[in-house]
């Protein structure tokens, strides 16, 4: 794998799950900004979701393991801050995966991922991870997490 095929790299990256939300890959999360082949090396640009998200370190390690397992040694991970990560980059398909996983996908109003009710109450602006807030459904009464819009 020394021929500079960046599509193959994208394919492999798409198999690396988000460490906190394994239902989606790091590519689907939108943190992989770019892959280029330069001077015999793949430069993979990554942007953090939140500045302090501990998953950033975890998925960098996972990416290294995945690429090495697939015989790719000539790569470099680079952190970029601009443009700042936004939930707008998330595809509809990815949002659906989140919903099936039990997390209300990014939207202005948190919708219950269990019964689709729009009648929900904010319990806490901060959830178990920086990217989520905590809610409860007024119809089915289930508690759930909502992916915050940023």
């Amino acid at each position: 794998m020394q021929n500079g095929n960046t599509n193959k790299i994208w394919e492999l990256l798409n198999t690396v799950p988000d460490p906190e939300i394994p239902a989606i890959s790091v590519v689907e999360l939108g943190v992989i900004r770019n892959v280029i082949f330069q001077e015999n090396s793949f430069i993979i640009s990554i942007t953090p979701t939140y500045s302090g998200c501990p998953a950033v370190k975890a998925f960098q390690d996972d990416i290294k393991i995945c690429l090495k397992e697939n015989g790719i040694e000539n790569f470099e991970l680079k952190i970029v801050y601009s443009p700042a990560w936004t939930t707008d980059w998330m595809a509809e398909e990815t949002k659906e995966k989140l919903r099936k996983y039990g997390i209300s996908p990014p939207s202005e109003k948190a919708i219950c991922p269990q019964c689709n009710s729009k009648s929900t109450t904010l319990v806490s602006e901060f959830g178990a991870t920086a990217c989520k807030s905590f809610h409860k459904c007024n119809d089915c009464l289930e508690p759930f997490e909502h992916f915050k819009c940023i």
């Binding site: 500045s51 302090g52 998200c53 601009s82 806490s124 901060f126 959830g127 915050k148 940023i150």
Partner: protein, 247 residues
């Protein structure tokens, strides 16, 4: 050299705020608030890391960790308000609210910086501090317009932290130089908007704005209150005791 100092000022205020807030972890008044304060702390650590990495790049020899763990008290440039002790929950909320209101305005301006790294880090931080402001503002209102006791306590909190808010708007030689070159922020120009946010919130919270008083100063020269030394002794303990320890 001045850009390094300017970047460290931003990094240090984030780092010290983060370290101070992290002391709430597992001690929050409710589970939700414990998680909230820890999350805000984590955002601030992340922001500090970005600015410290940039400081390391400008410096060329010291790493981000060297800057965080191998400087002494007098070599830190964080605003004095950020090192103040947590006190009770209201004290922490008052401090967080004043800082978040300032950070919101500061990063809004810094995101227009001619320096690409500073503007990128500012734009990223801005998204996070907006949320911190929203959260701390809602608590100011809840506590101020709450019970007789919560109102009394939060009023005392803001009266005692008020003397540290003057430093937000100071401009020394370095600030003026960096701001004039289109890289830094004119802090003085943020005062009007900051007053608006504060007055509007205090009105809603039915609290009284403290009268103008003597304002603390000195952090831009590395002068601090006694709180910083104690904080650093805990934060820097491990790398000081085991200098070659690796993560």
């Amino acid at each position: 050299m001045n850009l390094l100092n300017y970047t460290l000022r931003i990094a240090d205020s984030s780092l010290i705020s983060a370290q101070r807030l992290s002391e709430w972890c597992s001690k929050g008044p409710t589970l939700e608030e414990d998680i909230a304060l820890s999350n805000i702390s984590l955002d601030l650590f992340g922001q500090a890391n970005g600015f410290l990495e940039y400081a390391s790049e400008i410096d060329g020899s010291k790493s981000a960790d060297d800057f965080a763990f191998k400087r002494n008290e007098r070599e830190f440039y964080n605003l004095k308000i950020t090192e103040q002790e947590n006190g009770h929950f209201g004290d922490t909320i008052a401090r967080l609210f004043f800082c978040s209101a300032f950070n919101f305005l500061f990063y809004t301006e810094l995101s227009k910086s001619k320096d690409e790294t500073l503007s990128a880090l500012a734009a990223k931080s801005l998204k996070e501090v907006k949320y911190h402001l929203k959260h701390s503002k809602s608590w100011m209102i809840r506590l101020g317009d709450g019970t007789e006791e919560s109102k009394l306590k939060i009023q005392e909190s803001l009266n005692s932290i008020w003397q540290f808010t003057g430093e937000f708007f100071e401009m020394d030689k370095i600030d003026i130089e960096i701001s004039d070159s289109g890289i830094g922020v004119n802090n003085t120009s943020l005062k009007e908007e900051w007053n608006k946010i504060v007055n509007d919130t205090l009105d809603q919270a039915k609290l009284t704005r403290p009268e103008d008083m003597y304002m603390q100063t000195g952090s831009k020269k590395g002068l601090h209150t006694e709180c910083l030394g104690h904080l650093l002794s805990e934060m820097q303990y491990l790398p000081r005791a085991y200098p070659d320890a690796k993560w």
